[in-house]
Amino acid sequence: MADAAELEALVGTKTQSATVVIERAPLAFFAEAVFDDSQVYQDATVAEAEGFGAIPAPPTFPFVMDNWGRFPDIQGERVKKGPEGLSALGSVFSGGGLILHGEQSFSYERPVKVGDTLKGEGTVVEAYAKESKGKTMTFIVMETQWRDATTGDLVVTSRMNIINRV
């Protein structure tokens, strides 16, 4: 468990860097897994008829896309394993206890779509602890900005709030 100074020092820590290519099959499979039967995700002709130049991704796909298409040959630098680079946090959660995904948000500049190559850079944006009912609650907020790898334009920002209760 980290003290206040250690938590403060975590802010700005880089949690991950990953380059991913968005492919059709994982996206179509993901849509089925979130019970979305829209043919936009399955049939390129339907996507085109709906005005999409390429099949778009379901809204929460950015959370999982580095499990797909993160091939070694397109990585420029170090790659962190784990959901949004949780392992980069080191000893913060070493006190045991429950680790919970408390909140999640996405801000989209445009939909992610098949054929994109996106580069994600993650950082810790908040880290603090609170006492509650004799337990210590540690809050870590991580943000990953996914940019078009070619143009550098921001596509989607993912924010994850992790809570550790000891």
Partner: protein
């Protein structure tokens, strides 16, 4: 963008059609594969019960994903600009999950028209699973 909502058709308090789904263990296995989240609490009944859970339980991100399906069904695919949730409680196999989406605002940002939504996933008894908000582009 799939055909979206029209600003003139929207009013505060309006509700989107509910989506309902009875969660199964197979759903959890499919989401594990689709997401790469192989935490055994979501697919391994033996490990989940050894850890003191009554059974395996659903991924929080599956709840958020199903709620997103209801949002895009309402506002049109490709139109969401912000989507944010808080995870309130676990989901369990056998539970019927219900999406509840209502309009909280209709606004303009320059030439852009937006709808703001209160978004919730509950079970059939109304117990909240995830609670949040979303904003999406709408047509004039």
């Amino acid at each position: 963008m799939t055909t979206g909502l029209k600003k003139s058709d929207l009013a505060i308090g309006m509700s989107a059609p509910e989506l309902r789904h009875v969660l199964t263990r197979t759903d959890l296995v499919r989401y594990a594969g689709a997401s790469g989240d192989y935490n055994p609490m979501h697919h391994d009944e033996v490990k989940a019960t050894q850890a003191g859970q009554p059974s395996v339980f659903g991924h929080g991100m599956l709840s958020m994903g199903f709620l997103a399906t209801a949002i895009t069904t309402f506002v049109g695919i490709g139109n969401i600009v912000d989507y944010s949730v808080r995870f309130v409680s676990q989901t369990w196999p056998g539970e019927e999950l219900v999406t509840k989406i209502s309009v909280t605002g209709v606004r303009d940002e320059g030439d852009t028209h937006l709808v703001d939504l209160d978004v919730r996933l509950t079970n059939a008894d109304g117990q909240e699973k995830v609670v949040g908000s979303a904003s999406a582009l709408v047509m004039a």
